[in-house]
């Protein structure tokens, strides 16, 4: 490619300062404009619990919470997250908000290799914050963007179902 334009490389070298609140802490990062949020979280911030599975928003392994909503970190540039509040599996674990989901996944072995698990939990957490008593059909529907090659999904559905019921019985969630 003899016609290569040197300015392309200059663009790639440029970095932008991005600030956000990640897992409750203020963070500033120098990122390349082309860098995706998942790469920034995993590399610069060493939050490797968020995984890259397909890099095109099809598998759900990279789901994080952005301002309280589940988003694909692989479909966002880091610069687009400037000013946002981001919660990853690490933060959700520390705060204890998904402790019951994690315990139920563990009890029922609703994971094998565990690579899809953080994304599954982020999505399950969002589902249960929207719908207190989803049917199995609704749970399967909500997870339809989360790919798991290991489990066959049933134990995951069972675990979310059980947590929904337990939360309703304890009257915790409204």
């Amino acid at each position: 490619m003899s016609g290569f334009d040197e300015s392309l490389l200059d663009d790639a070298d440029e970095t932008v300062r991005v600030r956000f609140v990640v897992n409750g802490r203020k963070v500033a990062c120098e990122v390349a404009p082309r860098e995706t949020l998942v790469d920034c979280l995993r590399n610069a911030l060493e939050l490797t619990g968020t995984h890259a599975g397909c890099e095109m928003g099809a598998c759900g392994a990279c789901l994080v919470q952005l301002d309280g909503q589940a988003v694909h970190a692989c479909l966002m540039f880091t610069v687009q997250a400037d000013g946002a509040r981001i919660d990853t599996i690490e933060g959700l674990t520390e705060s204890g908000v998904i402790a019951d989901l994690q315990a139920e996944f563990h009890r029922r072995n609703a994971l094998q290799c565990g690579f899809c698990t953080p994304g599954m939990l982020v999505n399950a957490h969002e589902l249960l914050s929207r719908v207190t008593q989803p049917s199995r059909e609704e749970i399967r529907d909500a997870l339809s963007g989360n790919y798991c090659r290991c489990t066959g999904y049933e134990a995951i559905v069972d675990a979310i179902d059980a947590v929904a019921k337990a939360r309703s019985e304890s009257g915790g969630a409204t």
């Binding site: 490619m1 290569f4 490389l9 790639a12 082309r34 860098e35 995993r42 590399n43 060493e46 939050l47 490797t48 619990g49 968020t50 995984h51 890259a52 599975g53 397909c54 890099e55 095109m56 099809a58 598998c59 392994a61 990853t88 599996i89 690490e90 674990t93 994690q102 996944f105 563990h106 009890r107 029922r108 072995n109 994971l111 094998q112 290799c113 565990g114 690579f115 899809c116 698990t117 953080p118 939990l121 199995r136 749970i139 399967r140 529907d141 997870l143 339809s144 963007g145 989360n146 790919y147 798991c148 090659r149 290991c150 489990t151 066959g152 999904y153 049933e154 134990a155 995951i156 559905v157």
Partner: protein, 791 residues
């Protein structure tokens, strides 16, 4: 009155108990340590420029601009790596007459599939490495492409390997009994040609490797997301000429493997070489697009098969031709012919008949290699056999369950040798069939089906019996010259504080290896499970062994752990007996306490024995040398394989307007011998079934005529997602193998083995009123509509 005591009521009895996996908590907290997460000091990143052509000559490669890019440390072409890496050939001696061309990390002068890595760039970051790829210029000259079975077999057609007479990798024939005679005298013959699409593993974590060569120590450490660290230790040592003891392979958490990550990949071999050339750690993680064009694919078979039956519906004979197209090479070191070999040997396996003939032809083509992926060969043999049985049932006016009850080998007829040469120790087909009938509520499903048909709703019911190969002996690879172990090793230590560490050669990919090993050790030693720590996957630490593949972890690894635990128990009790002045046989261990065997009265905690042995050996009788670490190896003996069996059933609905198939419910009755952890076995079955359903309904690597993969992304290649998958009902029959004390066999392939056969039969069952049939998978809506002549 309380329920009668079972073996599970014994203290510390973990064999047969559903306990959660201790190591799963880390993964749930996002604290997995996958190779793709790894970052080492001074680590560089590799990226590969891939061939856009399925078959072409490399005329020239210009890397000058790429080399000049800031942040690029190395650009390597085939010749650079060929200087330090010896070539490999994917053949095994026991596949007589098989051929395959030698392979190198990167090609020297010719590319043989679209997606083959041609040039490697190593840079400060993956992004810079990929920028540099854009600056490389390669001139290719197109060569004729062989992109399907028929053109590969055409006489006088283009050849993939110059100098060879044809594109055949391997031919094999089996002929037992008198097949021609059986067909000549048969009352009924059913015949069909089946197609099985190529599909691939699609592990959620793509292949990942970090190679770290230390020139000062002359030592190589490879963090490799694989099932088989010992195999790779051996290969890296031999192909790069580094003494084995200076090669360490560490297999940490892995985001799925299913057989896909135990093969040698060109990029992985290259990364090791790049690290040697640079003396720095080099990381490579395939992206999803790269995975689709460079991970092994599987299946790609076309099978012509016929079955002869007598007037009563007794199966007399099978005659099979299996054509399978692999890549341009056979995969190393396990080859690409094992799948075909298992197809022709598993054909008809559940049934009692004597006359069998099969021809297997394994053919090269310009696509990425196929090789072993979960349930190797099983789904094809099972689908062909079970579809023919259903076709025969229709011809004879028999119910699918009835014809199977008539022909499945009787449970009291073992040992048996199949007409394909497999020896079965003890299987339970009839018991499984009976149980399936119950759990499906089969008669009610049939009644419902008949009722719904009246209103234009078409349900299908499918049944598929299967046999699974597990616990492989050296008959699998060792006899063919592969340095792939069929034995396993364990090192068990009582720690100074009275806990137990178990270093074992079987590996963990999420199926629960570490959990079941700790269950077995705790059970045999008399400890709480949380006091057993299991360590796997590091060749510097764990003893050499086969690791985990072909369903050997529980059966062979488990037996290794069991025997090692018994040896450590003997040693502990020997010291305890000296201290307590008792006979060892009068003592037992329960909950970490040495007790009187008869009364169970507590005598002394094992932590106290450990304390005395480690810190106050002076108080032991003179001449006593406490051996609180034992090492033990176990190699399977007796039957070359521990076969398992089972049967699956499913109920589905075919929308005859759209061709869509809705899975309603799936059922399996499975017999994997002694069940160590029922929950983990069930989850293996469920996961396996869903992989089989993916193959049945969605998954296919589709190629253009020019050998381009046209659906190589997760948006285009369909995998089973939660919404489409059914709930799965599971029941067990337990027929332990007598070849081991533990009696466990494998269960990892069972689900995948028969799921697609079930669906194939169920869809055909649903289409019965339309006189339409389907004989290829995946069964897409288009194929359904085509069969219905509506498309």
């Amino acid at each position: 009155m309380s329920a009668p005591l079972t073996s599970l009521d014994r203290p510390n009895s973990y064999i047969g108990r559903s306990v959660p996996r201790p190591n799963a908590k880390r993964l749930l907290a996002g604290r997995g340590r996958y190779v793709s997460d790894l970052r080492l000091p001074r680590m560089l990143h590799a990226a590969f420029l891939r061939s856009p052509h399925a078959h072409a000559k490399i005329i020239s490669i210009d890397v000058a601009q790429a080399r000049a890019l800031e942040g690029v440390h190395l650009v390597a072409i085939g010749a650079d790596l060929a200087k330090i890496c010896t070539p490999w050939t994917g053949t095994l001696d026991h596949f007589k007459g098989m051929t395959s061309a030698p392979q190198l990390p990167l090609p020297l002068d010719r590319v043989v599939w679209a997606g083959q890595a041609v040039v490697a760039v190593v840079a400060e970051s993956r992004a810079i490495a990929e920028d540099a790829l854009e600056l490389i210029e390669i001139d290719y000259e197109d060569l004729p492409v062989v992109a399907d079975i028929d053109s590969a077999r055409e006489a006088g057609g283009p050849l993939i390997n110059p100098g060879s007479g044809n594109n055949v990798c391997f031919r094999s024939q089996l002929d037992n009994g008198s097949v021609d005679d059986a067909f000549a005298h048969a009352a009924h013959v059913v015949e069909e040609e089946f197609c099985f699409g190529r599909h691939t593993a699609v592990t959620l974590e793509p292949r990942a490797i970090v190679a770290e060569y230390d020139p000062a120590a002359g030592a190589l450490t490879v963090h490799h997301a694989t099932q088989t660290p010992y195999q790779f230790q051996d290969l890296y040592s031999r192909h790069y000429g580094i003494p084995e003891a200076r090669v360490r392979v560490i297999a940490t958490d892995i985001g799925g493997s299913f057989g896909m990550k135990l093969h040698v990949y060109h990029e992985d071999m290259a990364v090791v070489g790049l690290s040697i050339l640079l003396g720095r750690p080099v990381k490579y993680v395939a992206d999803r697009m790269e995975s689709f064009v460079s991970d092994i694919h599987a299946r790609d078979h076309r099978v012509r098969a016929r079955m002869a039956l007598d007037a009563e519906g007794e199966i007399l004979a099978m005659d099979v031709l299996d054509l399978t197209a692999i890549g341009a090479f056979s995969t190393y070191p396990r080859t690409s012919v094992v799948e075909g070999n298992q197809v022709i040997r598993l054909m008809g396996a559940p049934y009692r008949f004597k006359n069998y003939r099969a021809t297997l032809e394994v053919i090269f083509q310009n696509k990425v290699q196929t090789s072993q992926y979960r349930a190797v060969g099983h789904p094809i043999a099972c689908a062909v056999t079970e579809r023919l049985v259903d076709m025969a049932a229709v011809k004879l006016g028999l119910d699918p369950l009835a014809i199977r009850a008539q022909n499945l080998i009787a449970d009291d007829a073992y040992p048996q040798t199949s007409p394909t040469g497999y020896r079965f120790e003890a299987l339970s087909h009839q018991a499984c069939l009976k149980r399936l009938h119950e759990i499906m509520d089969y008669d009610a499903l049939r009644a419902e089906q008949a009722e719904l048909r009246k209103s234009g709703v078409y349900h299908g019911i499918g049944i598929a019996a299967f046999v699974e190969i597990t616990n492989p002996s050296p008959a699998f690879y060792g006899v063919g010259g592969a340095r792939i172990s069929s034995q396993d090793g364990a090192i068990l230590s009582l720690t100074p504080s009275g806990e137990v560490r178990c270093l074992i050669s079987v590996t963990e990919q999420g199926q629960g290896t570490e959990a079941i090993i700790s269950q077995i050790v705790a059970d045999q030693l008399g400890l709480a499970q949380e006091h057993v720590k299991v360590i796997t996957g590091d060749t510097e630490v764990t003893p050499h062994g086969g690791a985990t593949w072909a369903c050997r972890g529980a059966g062979i690894g488990g037996e290794t752990a069991l025997q090692a635990a018994r040896a450590l128990r003997r040693n502990i009790l020997e010291i305890a007996a000296l201290i307590l002045q008792e006979q060892p046989s009068a003592l037992d261990i329960i909950d970490g306490e040495v007790v009187d065997a008869g009364t169970r009265n507590q005598r002394m905690p094992i932590s106290e024995i450990a304390r005395i042995a480690y810190f106050r050996s002076d108080t032991l009788p003179p001449g006593t040398q406490a051996q609180l670490t034992v090492s033990h190896h176990f190699a399977p003996q007796g039957y070359p394989f521990a076969f398992t069996n089972g049967i699956q059933g499913c109920s589905l609905e075919v929308d005859v307007e759209t061709g869509f198939i809705k899975m309603l419910k799936h059922f399996i009755v499975e017999d994997c011998g002694r069940v160590i952890n029922p929950m983990l076995v069930d989850e293996q079955l469920r996961g396996g079934i869903v992989q089989g359903l993916g193959a049945a309904l969605f998954e296919e690597c589709r190629y253009s005529e020019t050998g381009q993969l046209v659906n190589g992304s997760l948006a285009d290649y369909l995998v089973p997602m939660p919404m489409e998958m059914p709930d799965i009902v599971i029941a067990h029959v337990e027929t332990p193998t007598a070849d081991t004390e533990l009696g466990a066999k494998g269960c990892g392939e069972a689900g995948t083995a028969a799921a697609s056969a079930c669906v194939l039969n169920a869809v055909n069952d649903a289409l019965t009123p339309f006189n339409a049939t389907i004989n290829s998978i995946p069964i897409t809506p288009a194929k359904v509509l085509k069969a219905l002549k509506r498309f």
